[in-house]
């Protein structure tokens, strides 16, 4: 039964319609993912913008895991710190879960946990899950599997979800497996019916139909990235599993089996090889890129560390390749299943010597798709490793998004000389800067004609690819590589600028975007502070970034790492504006919230 909170303040929040958060505490490996996704998807189907974040441990089964759903009519997608509806299914964390919620929170829990004695300012709802499962599911060995679905039914009843939509979401989630669909629907119904009869109505949290998600998709960034690679015509993929990046290639494998087969022979036109480690994966990317493939790998920080020798070779010998880094929390093995933006510097300067890489920082699902697609063009145009720097929050969480637009562009294969092209060149040199943009012409191994061959090496070389230790030739090469890097300013995605044109600027990138967008509204609405916002989307920085800093008195750089790595890069490239930068940082391994941004900016201005 639902015990109403006893203090007046705890119910004082008023009714929250289409604007609240749900957290479900379960056990890793208990199958709760499906139940949670159904809950999220139902809200989505009812037209209410919603995001879902799985806070999971680095463990296969048995440890606590939480799923946070945020419904927000205005479409805010960042993590919300507070919880309005808590569902406690895990005995191990129940006490902590109860302790952490605010007064007035509705708490659905498994009856045997007996949580109602712990506090008197919450709305407790004890549910006899075991009994309900037993009644709704004839097969005892399946009880464990469908138990989680019962809380979906209870929650659905309590917050006003449409049961037809719940059932539609189940069918979608279970993808046509009728027996599973029937069982799960029965379990949800059992929960719903029980709540209808036994749970006194709570009136605080409501989902009411809106029309803000029509035509949208729910996707995670890794899937978006896999799609981007597939449409970019990736031909060689070499990888080694690592959380949180593995699903990039796993999804790519699935999609490729369906969409990258030769219609006549049924054979694949992409080679995907699971390597023995990341060093080998990077070696394959470099070798395949050298030989003309559109090659990629996906990994996370520890993998990039291992790859760094090869990434330096790719940079210096000028071999294209796409390196997707789905960043997790470091240093070292750190928190493998938690998010951060801690690899900004690692990627920008990966390898020894003076090395600088083109990096793309997607901040939305569409950008995970587009930037991965574009990374292949950039890699081939600039004949260099290109990083797509995503993170766990983007990569593994569920996000609502507009569907992706079909990338119409023809692939940019860059300056490749074929046999005919070679013939026209009088004095071919692999590393001659013919056009003055730092980008040289290359040939692919296997090109006939007799004069295209050259020798690739990571040691010093002259414009004709001949070994050279001459100081002036070496300097000319590394200077040209810098020139080439700067040429990329005209090709990488430009930053996005929004704002009324005030003196206070915010600069952010990647997965910090939703928190910044929401924070800017809070700053105006609650603190009367207008801000302009520049979202950086690539390295090399483009002139817009310099203009933004120049044009603002102060620029808050928001990022999810300890040292302000992006701010550091900006300082390095624009030392003249260094004093204007203020670091707004979040690095406890959770995704950044809007309030974090607001609080730190206010603290600077106090």
């Amino acid at each position: 039964m639902l015990t109403q909170p006893s203090t007046s303040e705890c119910v004082g929040g008023g009714t929250l319609v289409n604007d609240f958060s749900i957290e479900v505490a379960t056990v890793n490996g208990s199958g709760s993912q499906t139940a949670n996704t159904v809950l999220m998807r139902t809200i989505f189907q009812m037209g209410v913008p919603v995001t879902g974040k799985n806070l999971f441990p680095s463990n296969i089964a048995g440890l606590p895991t939480w799923f946070q759903i945020r419904a927000n009519h205005r479409g805010y997608k960042a993590r919300k710190a507070g919880i309005d509806l808590m569902i406690c299914m895990n005995p191990e964390t129940a006490k902590e879960d109860v302790a952490k919620v605010a007064p007035g929170t509705v708490l659905i829990y498994d009856e045997p946990l007996k949580l109602s004695d712990l506090r008197n300012d919450l709305a407790f709802c004890a549910v006899p899950f075991q009994k309900l499962v037993a009644a709704s599911c004839p097969e005892p060995k399946l009880h464990k599997l469908v138990k989680n679905m019962v809380y979906v039914g209870v929650a659905a009843q309590m917050i006003g979800l449409d049961m037809d939509e719940v059932k539609r979401a189940i069918a979608k989630q279970l993808d046509g497996k009728q027996k599973a669909i029937d069982l799960n629907q029965a379990a949800v119904q059992a929960g719903f019916d029980w709540a209808q009869a036994e749970a006194p109505r709570q009136t605080r949290l409501r989902i009411e139909r809106l029309d803000r998600t029509q035509g949208q998709i729910i996707i995670d960034g890794n899937t978006a990235c896999a799609l981007g690679a597939m449409f970019a015509g990736v031909t060689v993929v070499a990888w080694y599993p690592i959380t949180p990046s593995s699903s990039v290639v796993e999804q790519l494998i699935d999609y490729s089996k369906e969409h990258r087969r030769d219609p006549e022979t049924g054979r694949l036109n992409v080679a995907i090889v699971q390597m023995e480690d990341e060093i080998a994966s990077a070696g394959v990317v470099v070798g395949a890129g050298w030989a003309g493939a559109r090659a990629m790998t996906a990994t996370s920080g520890p993998g990039i560390s291992l790859m760094s020798e090869f990434i330096g070779l790719g940079y210096f010998a000028e071999c294209p390749g796409v390196f997707v880094n789905v960043t997790r929390m470091g240093p070292s093995t750190g928190l493998p299943t938690r998010t951060s933006q801690g690899d900004v510097e690692l990627c920008a300067k990966c390898s020894h010597g003076d090395t600088l890489h083109i990096c793309l920082y997607p901040g939305t699902m569409e950008e995970c798709f587009q930037f991965t697609y574009q990374a292949f063009d950039l890699a081939e145009r600039f004949q260099t490793p290109v990083f797509v720097v995503s993170d766990l929050d983007l990569g593994m969480q569920n996000w609502a998004s507009e569907p992706f637009a079909y990338p119409e562009s023809r692939y940019d294969r860059g300056k490749v000389l074929d046999e005919a092209g070679l013939k026209a060149v009088v004095d071919w040199g692999r590393y001659k800067d013919v056009d003055g943009d730092g980008i040289c012409y290359r040939t692919l191994p296997g090109t006939p004609g007799g004069k295209g061959a050259y020798f690739t090496r990571g040691t010093g070389h002259n414009p004709y690819a001949l070994y050279s230790e001459k100081p002036d030739e070496f300097k000319a090469t590394v200077d040209r590589l810098k020139r080439k890097f700067m040429t990329a300013r005209d090709y990488v995605p430009k930053p996005l600028l929004t704002g009324p044109g005030v003196s206070r600027g915010i600069l952010a990138y990647g997965s910090s975007d939703p928190a910044v967008a929401e924070a800017r509204d809070i700053l105006v609405e609650q603190h009367g502070k207008e801000t302009d916002y520049l979202r950086v989307r690539a390295l090399p920085f483009t002139p817009e970034l310099e203009a933004f800093i120049e044009g603002h008195e102060v620029v808050y750089v928001v990022e999810q790492n300890r040292d302000g790595q992006m701010a550091g890069l900006i300082r390095e490239f624009y030392p003249q504006w260094a004093t204007k930068l203020r670091k707004v940082l979040h690095y406890d391994s959770t995704a950044i919230t809007a309030q974090t941004v607001v609080d730190q900016i206010n603290a600077f201005e106090a």
């Binding site: 054979r267 036109n269 992409v270 995907i272 003309g292 692919l444 007799g450 061959a453 690739t456 070994y467």
Partner: protein
């Protein structure tokens, strides 16, 4: 004055002279075993009519890894990073299966830092002629022991190796490598034949070549010095090679010789020297190699050959066409595919 007519320079079936298979001038120490190997690579490539533009010659880092610079200037070379030629070669092979791959590596390169990559390259049966120029030391970093140094072998300045060596050949056989051979840079005839057979093979062909380092490891107390190698080498077979373009019938003495057909139509014949040695019996061959080693001898010749094994491209189930140059229209799914993917996610 009489003018002597200059003899015409011989050409191969492509009309190329041997000089066309030569590379840059070697910068290795005069007398280095690696240069003798290079000479045989040039000879074999010329005889086998390799089209230079189709050859990818790759290596890691080390004196031995400089070898690709010294042959076939008209081929595509890649001197990558220490121990990692296997992965770069795997990448190149995946990108363009019409390339003919030759890797030149060292014992340090392949048996220490690059061991993992070599092992996995063999597992995947990447199409490549993989040559280990084995001198028992690190030449380029000036004379430290490598993982193939025999127990009891000494460094120039007296240090004695006490640790068991790794034998690339028995290792490769253990891993199921379909072409495993050992030779000696001082035995050019045998090496040349093995190289030709390896070029005619379809998967990973591993050749360990004892190649003395005259600067750091050529003293009497080194088991990989010229003198020691010459004294201790026991050739297993007299090898004969009939290239694919030659239809000559070889006269084989019954019971004494064995013939293996290679994928390109070439034929390899074995005439046992001394004892019988069955190149199809992997386990027995491994035993023989170990026993010879215990006696302080090293066997040379082809240890194992097995044709028709699945190779890298069978495992990736990829199309025949080189992926490097495949047309965009073939690899870019249409708008309707993206729309269908989007509908699934709605």
């Amino acid at each position: 004055m009489t003018t002597s007519a200059t003899a015409p320079v011989p050409t191969n079936q492509l009309g190329l002279t041997k000089q066309d298979y030569v590379g840059a001038k070697s910068t290795l120490c005069p007398g280095c075993g690696h240069d003798a190997i290079t000479a045989q690579i040039i000879q074999a490539a010329w005889e086998m009519n390799l089209e230079p533009h189709r050859v990818a010659k790759l290596s890691g880092i080390g004196c031995s890894s400089k070898t690709p610079t010294y042959f076939m200037s008209q081929a595509w070379g890649f001197n990558s990073v220490h121990g990692r030629a296997a992965a770069v070669c795997t990448g190149a092979a995946l990108a363009n299966r019409s390339l003919l791959n030759i890797v030149a590596s060292g014992d340090g390169d392949s048996m220490s830092i690059g061991m993992g990559q070599l092992v996995h390259m063999i597992r995947r049966n990447v199409p490549v002629v993989y040559i280990i120029e084995d001198n028992g030391v690190y030449g380029l970093t000036k004379g430290q022991f490598s993982a193939t140094a025999d127990v009891g072998s000494t460094l120039k300045h007296g240090d004695v190796n006490e640790i068991q060596p790794i034998d690339p050949c028995t290792l490769a056989m253990e891993l199921g490598c379909g072409f495993v051979a050992r030779s000696f840079s001082g035995n050019p005839k045998q090496l040349g034949t093995i190289l030709k057979a390896a070029l005619a093979y379809e998967g990973t062909a591993l050749i360990d070549v004892i190649s003395p380092c005259v600067t750091f490891n050529n003293h009497d107390s080194s088991t990989k010095s010229y003198k020691n190698a010459k004294d201790r080498e026991i050739p297993l077979q007299e090898l004969g090679f009939i290239p694919y373009y030659d239809h000559e019938e070889m006269e084989l003495d019954a019971g004494q010789a064995m013939e293996v057909g290679l994928p390109d139509g070439s034929r390899l014949t074995f005439r046992s020297v001394g004892k019988d040695f069955d190149v199809t019996d992997r386990l027995k061959a491994m035993k023989e190699i170990h026993e010879a080693h215990a006696r302080g001898e090293f066997l040379t010749g082809i240890f194992h050959i097995e044709t028709g094994k699945p190779i890298l491209h069978d495992y990736t189930h990829t199309v025949e066409e080189p992926l490097a140059t495949i047309a965009q229209d073939k690899v870019k799914p249409g708008r309707e595919v993206l729309e269908a993917c989007m509908r699934e996610l709605m």
